[in-house]
Structure formats: C-alpha cells, structure tokens
Symmetry: C2
Subunit: 333 residues, 2 copies
Amino acid sequence: MSKLTNREIHLVSRPDGLPVPANFAVVENKVNTEGEGVLIRNLYMSVDPAMRPALSNGQTRLDAVMGGGAIGRVMESTVEAYPVGSYVLHRCGFREYYRSDGKDLSLIKPQGESLTTHLHILGGTGLTAYGGLLVTGELKDGENVFVSAAAGAVGSVACQIAKIKNCRVAGSCGSDDKVAYLKNELGVDYAFNYKTSSISKELHIGLPDGIDVYFENVGGAHLDAACGQMRPLGRIPVCGMISAYNNKGARSEGVTTLSNMIYNRVTMKGFVVYEFNHMKDQFLKDMRTWMSEGRMKYSETIMEGIVEAPNALIGLLQGQNTGKMLVRLSDDV
Amino acid sequence: MSKLTNREIHLVSRPDGLPVPANFAVVENKVNTEGEGVLIRNLYMSVDPAMRPALSNGQTRLDAVMGGGAIGRVMESTVEAYPVGSYVLHRCGFREYYRSDGKDLSLIKPQGESLTTHLHILGGTGLTAYGGLLVTGELKDGENVFVSAAAGAVGSVACQIAKIKNCRVAGSCGSDDKVAYLKNELGVDYAFNYKTSSISKELHIGLPDGIDVYFENVGGAHLDAACGQMRPLGRIPVCGMISAYNNKGARSEGVTTLSNMIYNRVTMKGFVVYEFNHMKDQFLKDMRTWMSEGRMKYSETIMEGIVEAPNALIGLLQGQNTGKMLVRLSDDV
C-alpha cells in the first residue's frame, strides 16, 4: 500500500497571551493512499478568531492535530457521494491530507464563484454575519448600525448586508488602509481607525442619532463606547470579542456603560453560527444575488503553505488581515 | 376658599456622587381645598433606586416638586370614580397633598392586605420582579437563579417567585442581618454578604452548576462575577444597576467577563416595568394566592414624615432598607 507524507499542525503548549510560534509544531506522518473512505488533499484552510479561545479552554487538545474549516479535493474515494475530483468542505484543516469516512464532509459545487468563497462569504463566516445581523440583531431597514472589526471577514459581510438593508453604517478597524477599504470598496458611511482615535467620539460623529444595532466582534473598549450610545430597544448581537481572547479567562477591558441597557431596554445576545444552519439555502441565494449585483464584495489575505498556519493565526489576532485570513495548503490550485 | 398648607420636596442641586440633604429642599405652599378635581391627602410614598439616575440625567427637574409612586386618601372630589374616602395610587409623591384632575389616578381596593403592599409587592415593585423574572428572564422550573440586592424590595420578590418555581436560589446582600433574613424568612437556598466575601467564590459555592438566570439589580462587580458563571442559554434580565447610579454617567465598575456570553449564548436584556402592564390581573391573582399560602412575604422600612423623604432616598442608596423603603406622609393611617 503506498503512502503519502502529510504535514500537520499540533498545539504543543498553551499560549499565555498572544500565541507564539513555539506553541505549535509541524508534525510529519504518513497517510495511506488506499482503503475504505475518502482521501482528501486539503487546498485551503480557514483561520478564525474563535480558534484562539479554544487554545486556552481545552477545546483544542495538546499534542494532537488542530481542527478548523478547510476545503479539499478528493483524491481517492470508496464513497459514492464524494467522487474523485470533487471538492469537499470539512472541519479538519491544519493538515495537508485528510482521510474521512465521508460522514463529516459536504460537497461544494461552485457556481462560477471562486472555491475559497465557500470558506468565507458563502460559508460559515458569511452565515455568521447574515444570521447574527438579521436574526440575533433583528436588523430593520434604515437603522443605525455599528460594526467593529469591520474590515475583518465577518465584519465586512455584516457592513455590506446592513448597507443592502438601507442602513447607515459605521465601522471600526485597525489601520488607515482598512478605513479606505471600508469607505471606498464596501461603501461604509463612516469608518475610523480605533488605534488613533476615540471610539466614543467617532461614534458620536458617525452615528449622531445613536446606535440601533451594534454587531460586536471586539469587546472591551469598543463595547464600552458603543453600549453607552445604544438607542431605545437597541440590540447587540455578540459574535466575538477578539480584544479579550489573548487575556487569561478571555477577560476583556472593563465595560462600564451597561446601565444604559436598562432605560433604553437594550438586548445583548451571544450567538453561534450553527443556530442559523436551517437558513443556509436562503442565505446562499441572497448572497449569490448580492454578489452578482456587485453589492457583496470580499477580500482575502492568503498565506502560503501549512508551515505558515500558526503565523496566519497569530497574524489574524494582530489584525494583519483584510477580509478573510486563509492558508493555501497546496500549490495545485 | 379655604387652603391647606402643603409641604413638598424640591431638587435644588444635582448630586455629585451620593446625594446629600443639601441637594433637596422642603418647600411650603398652599393647596385649595375646593374646586374641580380630586384633592388627595398622601399617606405613603415609595422610594426607589431608579429615582437616583433621574436626579442626574435631567428627568427630575430642578426647583420643582419631585415625583414618585404614592398612595393617598381622597379628601374632596368632583370626579365620580374617586369618591371621598377612597384610596388612590398615583405618581405624585414627595408632597403631602396633591390635587389631580383624576386622569392620573387609579383606585386601590385592598382585599384584606395592608394599603402599603400596593406600593411594593402588589404594585410596580412586585410587577417588576414578576415580569422581569418570568417574561424577560424566561424563568423555567428548577433552574439555578442568582438575585443581587436580594433583600431589597424587588430582589426579595424575585427570590420568592424563583423559589415558588422550584428553582435553586442564591442571593447577595449587604449585611449579615439581611443574610439571615434571606435564609430564614424568604427561604433562599444560599445567601451571602457581598461586602465581606468574594462574589465569584460565593456563587461557585451557592450555585455550583452555574447560573441559568441572573436577576440583575446591582451591576459592576456583581455582574462581573455572575456573567462569568452563566450556563448555556442563560439569561440576565437587567432590572437595575444600583452600584453605578452615584457615578458620573451611571458608569459601573468594569465588567470583564462578557465573552462568556458568546459560546454559552447568553442573553442580557434591560427592561422597564410598564412592559408588563398587560399582565397586571394575572400578577395580582398569583401574588394574592402566594401571599395567602404564606409563600410571599415582605418587609418594609418606613421613615416618618415628608421631611425625611430625602434621607429615605439617600439611605436606600446606601442599603439601609430591608425590603421596601417607604415614607409615611400622614399620621392619620
């Protein structure tokens, strides 16, 4: 039986603060090319903020291959649903080859769009923004919306959905280049660099009537500023709090403005993307329509090769990406 | 036309921090005994934490009589619905006499219970706990419930409703006497004095499986401890944040544990009692049943005379009350 050399990423120590390369190891092993099941050559993997808390809370095991969204091409298969040459989506990234029994795969059939979009705007990232804003956030046409980490993968979709729903949108990001991207590419009404300004003052300028929906990706100082400016019956769908993830216990900077939730009857609600799985068909239909109309754009930051996967995660946590952070795992794409 | 001497409380300067007696003045004026409408002798007035933010945010006007829940007896009346001798509830406390056109009054007909209960467990205070816990908090039988300011007017009702719903209940309060009251009188499962203990440690002991519903009255350090221990799909109905009210902008101590809301999909929601007005009949029916069964008890802290009204409010903000803080405005009750 012939064998292929596979490289994969293991977590070898839990990070204290921002992860460092030494927390990870590249491990080589062999994968059987023959046998029952589906042999997959991973092509791209997704890098997500939610991977960081998993490194500390025990969800990601030590000295074992890490997991995460990935797209691969089927090389060998005894499972009829996944013939050789087809593309599959699964949760076993951070490795070059993956052998599956087929139960954890789903088939991808691009309709003209790039394969990678299924790891972001047409995948879980997009569904997170779609469900978080429209379901958890109960977005209504014409409202005032603030999106933090607005140039990130989820944030940039949230901004564009809000614009499509005729909302006034303010977005925060961490560089002047991203400010320009938000304004010029995504059509955000007001964008600011939170590193060089007062979030609270910027929000007063960008959304002078206050905030109806704050799509929360950052936490800490962002939430402190936004919560104090929420309008009556405002909603805060909590997608993530990336500013907290490198801290012990994922503790954020202190939020001091929560009393505004009382008289303005504000709702803040944490959500996870699988709540919206039942909406996937409508989501894909809407997103493809918006893409074809030029109203849903995306950006990708792609790092090359499995060896770069830890750096991609570290870079994401430092805001080095615009749009989706991906790792290309094969030259053959 | 004969006239009566009325004394009333004016706000004369906005407090910086805890209010002081000099922020208030007792003002004397005359009230006509005859004429159209309803002349009311106020008997009791309610003192509520929500009065404090109103002193700073402009809702309470300077150099004008303050407002708040009160019960009075009708002395003169040209309005058929409110005959002489009947008892009425209205929002014009902080004065001894009140002349109304009748439109802002509601009739009280005690069914054996004391008149004052209509200012607390059978009034807005009780409805706040009832709606906040059962509607906003979506309380289910047998859940783990934490109530802060548990010996206060709203908190003590919330604790008892949760016990009636077969929940395990932990309550925080600010003195050892109140701890004893919660355990021995109200049947709370676990009570602690937050001033002499770690809220987080006490919650781990009192509710070792975590918190399903945190009925929030205090904010700041209480919320910081509780939010970190919320269980999946937990709810935090936000009734008040008394720890913040004396601070500029009602800012609380920093809350750093909000990231727990994400993966545990926790909902935090501010509410105001008028949301539950449509439930008043069911509320009164339930409360009277529970009172008759000995499962709904109350405590009152009563100060004597209109001149003491500012001190009652200041004392409330310092936690001097057990149960409802009231001011008796007439000797004739």
